[in-house]
């Protein structure tokens, strides 16, 4: 069920992305950091659902709050003339690698288990 909605959401997203008029370049910086934050939340959500830890509330709040906080920090960095957004990127991408690692290990485990099952049979 969820997979279906994911696919539908992606397709609609692509359409929307092309239809919406180009945003001004100055804003693009903030959107970029928000996307990174969002991706981090998504992978975090996937990883937690694998660990059977998934909490929808945490996921949704994380998704939006992280994005907003990231944008605010970038803006603050602009005003202070300090590239704060760099730190955010390091954290988010770092966490992404972590979560992707967890996902990878889980599926590798699953595959080798299936293999094992197959062999035994």
């Amino acid at each position: 069920m969820a997979i279906l909605t994911i696919i539908i959401g992606s397709v609609l997203g692509i359409l929307l992305g092309f239809l919406i008029p180009t945003i001004p370049y100055s804003v693009s910086k903030y959107l970029a950091i928000a996307i990174v934050a969002a991706l981090d939340s998504v992978f975090g959500g996937i990883a937690s659902s694998i660990k059977k830890n998934f909490d929808l509330k945490v996921f949704i709040s994380g998704f939006f709050v992280n994005a907003i906080i990231a944008m605010l920090l970038t803006y603050l960095g602009q005003r202070l003339n300090v590239d704060i957004y760099l730190a955010a990127i390091i954290v988010f991408v770092g966490r992404m690698f972590n979560n992707l690692g967890i996902i990878r290990r889980y599926y590798l485990d699953k595959i080798s288990k299936n293999f094992g099952k197959g062999k035994h049979k």
Binding site: M1, A2, L4, T5, I6, I8, G9, S10, L12, G13, I14, L16, G17, F18, I20, T22, I23, Y25, S28, L31, A32, A34, I35, A38, L39, V42, L56, I60, F63
Partner: protein
């Protein structure tokens, strides 16, 4: 229970779908924005690229300014040299122009006389007659003389060829009627030519030669168009 679970699952699915929509659309919006900005106008560069561009333009500007100042200095040097030269050139130019005019190398105009000499069946003009006229005109202060539009200059000769025709200025043939134009003080010229008995008019009339003298406020005399050489003579201090 099952319905509740299904409902929850539905909810989650929908929420996840919405979130995917948001995420994917943001990504594609961003892709579009970045793609557009890849046209490297200076107006759409990021700050670090801007600083390098500015540094480049700054050094280019400074180089150009140096060049420009050098050029300006050279120009003002030339200008002042030119101004110095201009004055002496102007004086020389004026002297040259005046000299050419005095030699008869330019077209001139001024007050004077127009004298017409006509051969008749009874009497014809000779080269000597023309020479006598020219001599008298010079005596009377003529500044420029021409015969049938041939300018009389310093070394102009008037020669009779075989008593059939008259040549002047090496290769110009002239024949009756002879139009002699003179520029000078027209009343003085007139009175000199018309002196009783000794003036040219009387001299010619005595010999039954036809002559008319007319005063004019505006005589135009053409320049001497041949070469004046200094092949044999050399200037001595």
């Amino acid at each position: 229970m099952k319905v509740k679970v299904d409902k929850q699952k539905m909810q989650m699915a929908i929420i996840i779908g919405i979130i995917t929509l948001l995420l994917v659309s943001s990504m594609f919006i961003q892709f579009k924005a970045v793609d557009k900005s890849q046209e490297s106008n200076i107006e759409s560069l990021r700050s670090d690229e801007l600083t390098t561009q500015i540094a480049t333009y700054k050094s280019r500007y400074e180089e150009t300014m140096e060049q420009y100042e050098e050029n300006q200095n050279t120009i003002s040097e030339y200008k002042s040299t030119m101004d110095e030269n201009k004055e002496s050139t102007n004086l020389l130019d004026k002297e040259l122009n005046d000299t050419e005019t005095l030699l008869g190398l330019t077209d001139v105009q001024g007050e004077g006389l127009i004298i017409t000499l006509k051969d008749t069946n009874e009497a014809t003009y000779t080269a000597s007659d023309l020479l006598t006229l020219i001599n008298e005109l010079k005596y009377a202060g003529a500044e420029a003389i021409s015969i049938n539009d041939n300018r009389v200059v310093n070394l102009t000769e008037i020669t009779a060829i075989n008593n059939s025709f008259i040549m002047m200025n090496s290769d110009s043939r002239i024949s009756s009627p002879y139009t002699v134009k003179v520029i000078g003080d027209k009343s003085y010229l007139m009175s000199t030519l018309n002196l009783k008995n000794s003036g040219f008019v009387d001299l010619m009339r005595v010999n039954n030669l036809e002559i008319t003298v007319e005063e004019s406020k505006n005589v135009v005399i053409n320049k001497y168009s041949k070469e004046i050489t200094a092949k044999k003579m050399k200037e001595v201090e």
